[in-house]
């Protein structure tokens, strides 16, 4: 579980985010949705501990001690939280080397991977279905393939909580479906997934819980069913509402509506 209390964050002295209270339940897929500039990425970076913030961001389980994200060492935090930023660099290294970097927080000096690390990399490749990319150089891959490789790197990191910043933006529908399946697999393995998106039908389909952000503040949060019954609020935040559509074989059972 990830708990936020009185969290404020910003850039260059300008505050862009203020969250009074927000809880992300464990073993669920939670999605932050909001327009561009609503504070989704800022919130994600604060939760990952890579952006300074005021307030408390705590990781823990019910009836157990909670740990503050900002007070953890870098490696301990990386073992708890895995971050996939919005931008991935097209690096000149092979896919296996990239994915092995996900094990950095679990390696002691001099950083030589052991059998356990190799197994983690293999498992990450299988989960993401990128076996055919073995030996390829990351900079030579398509955007979708590169995204899958970076996601595999974060999976190899084996954190409890995944923070994914718009993991499906700029990807074709095939890769989007694959990533959604990966997230459902991770959830079955007991992981907590928190991602950002501004695709309403996709988010409402995938999420167990949705948090709606607007101008750096939490507008509301709840299940997709609860939020689809509050179209006014969703429209205020996103410019359109959603409603559930009944039918066979629908990829996204939620559709956009004007009201």
């Amino acid at each position: 579980m990830l708990v936020l209390e009185q969290v404020k964050a910003g850039y260059g002295g300008r505050q862009v985010l203020q969250i009074d209270e927000l809880r992300f339940p464990e073993n669920r897929i939670s999605i932050l949705i909001g327009r561009n500039g609503s504070g989704k990425s800022t919130l994600l970076k604060a939760m990952a501990g890579i952006l300074p913030y005021k307030g408390e961001i705590l990781i823990g389980e019910e009836n157990k001690r909670f740990l503050s994200v900002s007070e953890m060492s870098h490696k301990k935090r990386a073992r708890k939280i895995g971050l996939l930023p919005q931008t991935q660099h097209p690096v000149d290294m092979d896919v296996e080397t990239l994915i092995m970097h996900g094990r950095f927080s679990r390696l002691s000096w001099p950083g030589r991977p052991g059998k356990k690390d190799m197994e983690a990399v293999d498992k990450a490749c299988r989960t993401c279905g990128i076996g055919e990319l073995s030996g390829r150089i990351v900079s030579g891959l398509s955007g979708g393939e590169r995204q899958l490789c970076y996601l595999a790197m974060v999976i190899a990191q084996d954190p409890e909580i995944f923070l994914l910043d718009e993991p499906m933006s700029a990807m074709d529908i095939g890769h989007q479906i694959r990533i959604m399946e990966i997230m459902r697999t991770l959830k079955k393995e007991g992981k907590t997934i928190i991602l950002t998106s501004h695709d309403l039908p996709q988010s409402f389909t995938l999420a167990d819980r949705i948090a709606l952000l607007s101008e750096g503040r939490l507008l509301c949060e709840g299940t997709p069913e609860e939020l689809s019954e509050r179209p006014g609020l969703v429209k205020k935040a996103m410019g359109a509402a959603v409603r559930r559509k009944e039918g066979e074989g629908l990829l996204y059972p939620y559709v956009l509506t004007e009201s």
Binding site: I50, P85, T87, D94, F104, W109, I137
Partner: protein, 343 residues
């Protein structure tokens, strides 16, 4: 991956053989004052041949040249080759900019200015020379990073800041040389870089700086590759980016400072060798560091050998030979790479 390991082993073995070959050639190459035979006998006799009473004048001269001139010089070339190329590699990866080098970012110039200041303030004190050389290198690096942090850490800003700081320190160096010509025994040699005025004491006093720089590289090594993934990704993986980057720059300053105290303002090595090894072997730091360890010294040794032998008894600064050989070679590699990418 197996193919890459085989290629890497082949490149390493070739480089080691090349390095050893050039090293021994630099010790044993004859000239009109000393024959190959006498040099070889002095080599086999060891440093003890300097103290032998019952040897000819030619044999004693060979022993002195081998053990008191050529060996320190070759050792300094090895240390400076690996120091400057590793320094360049550290800067290029930690600041994510393949155009950076200790000579471009002002590190070498800062070290050079402080070497002259030490010659003025602490003449003959070799320890002061090494310490001040590192201080100048580190100060220049910190000034560049400070400017870049205020003006924006883009590739262009870093290079512009480095060029500006480099020019500033070069101007101060030229002022010192103009007002105090005695501060440097060989102006051209110092400005272009070379080993003609090397002393054994300065070599010994530079060793702690080289050792400290190399130990830091060993400690930082496992995390350095993460810089290639971008700061946010690297932090997410558990790398304390700001601290690691600072330590990489510190290590680069230690290695460059130590090198400048021995060979003057030798540029080019720190830019070209890291770029060449990365073209051949990709971007993994461990692999590239090992190749810099081998090919940086080999290249600098070759240039120094050519500098002192080509027009014997006249000696050119090694930095001049480095530019004359290195620039066309590098342009050739760039053109070959462009052609291969276009295909």
């Amino acid at each position: 991956m197996k193919k890459d390991s085989k290629k890497f082993r082949y490149i390493c073995i070739t480089g080691i053989l090349l390095l050893l070959g050039i090293f021994f050639l630099s010790l044993l190459v004859p000239n009109r004052d000393v024959s190959a035979g006498n040099l070889f006998k002095a080599f086999l006799s060891g440093p003890g041949s300097l103290k032998k009473e019952d040897i000819t004048k030619a044999a004693r001269l060979a022993a002195v040249i081998l053990w008191q001139v050529r060996l320190p010089r070759a050792s300094a070339a090895v240390l400076c080759g690996l120091g400057l190329s590793l320094s360049g590699l550290l800067l290029q990866i930690s600041l994510n900019n393949s155009l950076l080098a200790p000579s471009i970012i002002g590190i070498n110039s800062g070290a050079g200015t402080c070497v002259l200041i030490s010659a003025l303030l602490f003449p003959g004190m070799t320890l002061a020379r090494s310490v001040l050389s590192f201080t100048g290198a580190f100060a220049a690096a910190m000034i560049v990073c400070f400017i870049a942090s205020r003006a924006g850490i883009s590739k262009t800003t870093l290079i512009l800041a480095g060029v500006a700081v480099s020019y500033l320190f070069t101007a101060v160096t030229d002022m010192i040389i103009t007002w105090h010509p005695d501060s440097v025994t060989d102006k051209a040699g110092f400005s272009l870089g070379g080993f003609s005025s090397l002393s054994s004491t300065s070599l010994i006093f530079s060793l702690p700086l080289f050792a400290a720089g190399l130990i830091l590289v060993l400690i930082l090594g496992p995390g350095i590759d993460l810089f290639l993934l971008g700061d946010e990704t690297a932090q997410g993986l558990g790398l304390p980016v700001a601290r690691w980057r600072f330590l990489c720059i510190l290590s680069a300053a230690l290695l460059s400072g130590a090198s400048v105290s021995l060979c003057g303002l030798l540029g080019f090595v720190g830019l070209i060798i890291p770029n060449l090894v990365r073209m051949v072997s990709g971007s993994r730091f461990r692999v590239n560091a090992i190749l810099c360890f081998i090919y940086g010294p080999a290249f600098l040794l070759l240039c120094d050998l050519a500098a002192r032998q080509m027009f014997y008894p006249y000696e050119l600064p090694a930095g001049l030979i480095l530019s004359v050989i290195g620039v066309p070679f590098f342009i050739g590699v760039l053109l070959k790479r462009k052609k291969r990418l276009a295909l």
